[in-house]
Symmetry: C2
Subunit: 199 residues, 2 copies
């Protein structure tokens, strides 16, 4: 079998670590990168090499930030009585872009998933509870994925957080905007029906 040149093979192997990227896609990406301008290749390389240096994961909330202080932990600009729990640092940026929320965030280190060996003890609940008590949080908003793992984690967190006397809410479930009823799955439709609101 004729192999790709070695440096190309190594790039392909690394590209396969990206989510949803298999052999064929990684090969396409690698060949595309060969055709990039030299400046783009070098800029990209220096950015990837500098990821750990330039970006910090906040030890308090788990968000990703550049510079010296976590933007999302800054309580002079943000409401310190609200806490929104997400499953990845990326989700914080999505929620920020709704402009509906200006409270604190907490990134879970994982979601409960017995198949992957992740149980409640992996959620570092003590740290979360300490934060809730330190800031005297009034409401915790669960913004986890609407998946089996996300729902299991939400239910578990609800029980634990309510035991601290804090109000817990979760994101609304229903039809996505712009969707056609024909293509909405039964589960979503049932939820949308139950959570109908006056027009």
């Amino acid at each position: 079998m004729t192999r790709y040149p070695e440096s190309l093979q190594k790039i392909i192997l690394l590209l396969r670590k990206l989510p949803g990227v298999g052999k064929k896609t990684a090969e396409r990406y690698a060949f595309q990168m060969i055709s990039w301008k030299k400046e783009d290749q070098e800029l990209f390389a220096s950015l990837v090499a500098g990821l750990k240096k330039n970006l910090t994961i906040c030890s308090e909330c788990g968000a990703i930030y550049e510079g010296n202080h976590c933007f999302f932990c800054n309580t002079t600009h943000r409401d310190p009585l609200l806490l929104c729990i997400v499953s990845s640092p990326k989700d914080i940026f999505s929620l920020e872009n709704t402009r509906l929320y200006n409270g604190l965030y907490h990134v879970m280190p994982g979601l409960i998933s017995p198949i992957d060996g992740i149980g409640p003890e992996e959620l570092h609940l003590e740290h979360l509870k300490n934060r809730i008590q330190k800031h005297a949080i009034r409401e915790v908003i669960l913004a986890l994925d609407s998946t089996i793992e996300g729902d299991a984690t939400s239910l578990y967190l609800k029980k634990e957080i309510e035991s601290l006397g804090v109000f817990v809410s979760r994101l609304g479930l229903g039809m996505p905007m712009g969707s056609s009823l024909e293509y909405v799955d039964e589960g979503t439709l049932s939820r949308a029906f139950s959570s109908r609101s006056p027009l």
Copy 2:
């Protein structure tokens, strides 16, 4: 709007240059790269930065190679009387893996596409004709994509190459292996019917 940290934004912009990668996918990839091990990030960066140094595009045939000499132009190991025309260096590796071909290759600098402003003059036909005559090629095999652009280029090349008195063939058209008749499009089915062979 809350922006991603600057270094992350730049990575996302560059990742969008990959084929079929839009904003959302580039964001997913970038966040995944943040979670890579430092060694993987650094290895990947140095490989991308070294692409132009480690890999050479053969000025003769257009293939990509590592080292001092183009593997595919080496006529001591390869049949110098056959020439296979492809549209990208990547296709050479796919054809090599069939183990059915051991001749020379020629990568076209592009395919005829009036919409993209690529006409026959962009095909650098003189170089191709020189190679055909220099090696006294007996057969040229057209292995271009089965698309409008690929077919247009194949027809144009056939006319030009046959004028040199060289036999021109193209890859067979028909049902892909493992396909179900139900899902094969009409065009492919017509071609498969016309090119039926005794069992």
